[in-house]
Symmetry: C3
Subunit: 264 residues, 3 copies
Amino acid sequence: MIDVKKLQRDFDAVHQQAPLVHNITNFVVMNNTANALLAIGASPIMAHAVEEVEDMVQIASSLVINIGTLNADWVKSMMVAGKAALKKGIPVVLDPVGAGATAYRTQVCKQLIETVKPTIIRGNASEIMALVNSSTYTKGVDSSDSSDNALNSAKQLSKETKAIVVISGPTDYITNGKDTEMVINGSPLMTRVTGMGCTATAITAAFAAINNNYLEAATHAMAVMSIAGERAANKAQGNGTMQLYFLDELCNLTDNILATDLKR
Amino acid sequence: MIDVKKLQRDFDAVHQQAPLVHNITNFVVMNNTANALLAIGASPIMAHAVEEVEDMVQIASSLVINIGTLNADWVKSMMVAGKAALKKGIPVVLDPVGAGATAYRTQVCKQLIETVKPTIIRGNASEIMALVNSSTYTKGVDSSDSSDNALNSAKQLSKETKAIVVISGPTDYITNGKDTEMVINGSPLMTRVTGMGCTATAITAAFAAINNNYLEAATHAMAVMSIAGERAANKAQGNGTMQLYFLDELCNLTDNILATDLKR
Amino acid sequence: MIDVKKLQRDFDAVHQQAPLVHNITNFVVMNNTANALLAIGASPIMAHAVEEVEDMVQIASSLVINIGTLNADWVKSMMVAGKAALKKGIPVVLDPVGAGATAYRTQVCKQLIETVKPTIIRGNASEIMALVNSSTYTKGVDSSDSSDNALNSAKQLSKETKAIVVISGPTDYITNGKDTEMVINGSPLMTRVTGMGCTATAITAAFAAINNNYLEAATHAMAVMSIAGERAANKAQGNGTMQLYFLDELCNLTDNILATDLKR
């Protein structure tokens, strides 16, 4: 159950502190991700060279690792940056784009989880399910409901990794393995815009930078995403204008809008 | 001569089957390409790591190879993915961006054509002309009309490569070397938006995934592009809004619109 | 003091000559940069492969080197392309994105400056200040005003490098170390859109391609940027629509608008 006061507090804190979010992310979404971070008052930096990622982490408040267009060189930089972030103690948010689609993606994610110990992992249902080691989680579950399965996977992954796990979907689930928060705002049109999930990951990193109760931080980030997305979808004519109106709505969010729009 | 019923059939099939289109494409257009594929109901994946492209081809329904921002590593992945697609029997659409501008680009394209045997090659007139091996094609042509030359090049390239060849321009030509289709919808404003050609290539790959009469598939893809582009241009105020309205129009196309807007 | 007639002359020349601007730039901004160049009537090409950058420089009218998402391979290509441009005698515009943020970025910039001898360097205040070798410039300055410091740094950097130096900010300064021009158009909303500075760099390269009085060329480019930005901001609802309206405004600029909107 989201506490609006805490949501507003974190939203304001992102604007006031303007955390520097270091992104090692994919080519498809870099522009949108940077603009979304600017829209909520955070400060984005994209940097992936192995020569500088450790230094960049030193000035960053959080780190995004997004494997969307990974290759061996980028994975190397992700490892180096992730270890530096772990050592420094800043939150790391992992976006396991396409985990399960190829063996390489699944394996890289597992390696990142083991080495970097991400603070938060955000993906869609199938990505999260691909990352769970144990397959026992479904055994006791007498449900063919896929979102139940997904939530169970998220809980399991959280227990295995100690990370907060976020599943994006019609309802977003945010879990620490024990407690689970839900965000029910949003719009189906968000799924027609490429990289909306990646944007959610980056915004999560901005919130994690200012609230070290990461279950709260991730929940608030997803709420902000979903409220802005819902408002944008009400105006958009298709996935073209949706992309832009979403950024506009992020820019124009206020504590007041959060209070009136949040569905519970 | 485009048969509207077949155009509608293929348009509907893309929406119903939501083919997974694997793109190895350039940095400039990845975001737009992904959004355009989502807008017509297809499913985009961008992946270029040599470690995974073979696996990705296994789950894909077609493959785009676009050399816009090529380098040696990417070309290696294009070769590996292209050979896997050839072996699996899914269509490969080659976009020879900038062929003729540098020797490297021309040479890479010729190598890709020889090794991957693309199903469809889509480019602008100068790119297609740069790829024709024989220079005899102009000899018998008593015309200084450049689009005639371009069409002759396209036919020649099609004969040399067995690929369907598409030339984008004020009139789009789609040829198998013998039969030639034309698309006359469109707008000059489309040329002011970067990557419109790359988008056409990706949409062509989506249509090729659901219709293995590739002359038809490519023609229908170009018709859909051009109709959406024409509609967007009627509303756009410049190349900024054009980009977004184009995606919106793609989202909102219907069988009915295709029937009313198609020029013949 | 900007001479409107000369501004109009250069603006028209870009449209008439449509210079080919070769960009070795970052992943975040490639799409926007290409569209901005198309919007002002120039012709963009993005190419970074070491196999082809020398050839591409041969057909280009100017070269952009932007280190936003640098790594060792890209820096190598920047050096090769930059040396080819220097040899050919076409202008090179360097954008030292993030100079000062990491030692690697600062060092790469200094290496590029030494090797490529850029014609123009465009950055924000902190980037420019990070590139000045001498630290004596502030000693005699009895001012805590940061823009004064920045301008002094720009002058110093210009003297050290022989480049025209441009500092973007609420007021843009363009200096050859002795004479300084100012552009006071613009809008704070421009800073909320990622890559606006990178776009300014690319447009500067387009103007440098058609006017070899580089102080004038850079000033005119910044004036065009700022006028379009100011007009777009008057319509935009946030950083989403800002991005697109900016391109639209660039598309729709006329000599007349330049004359009426230029602030002096």
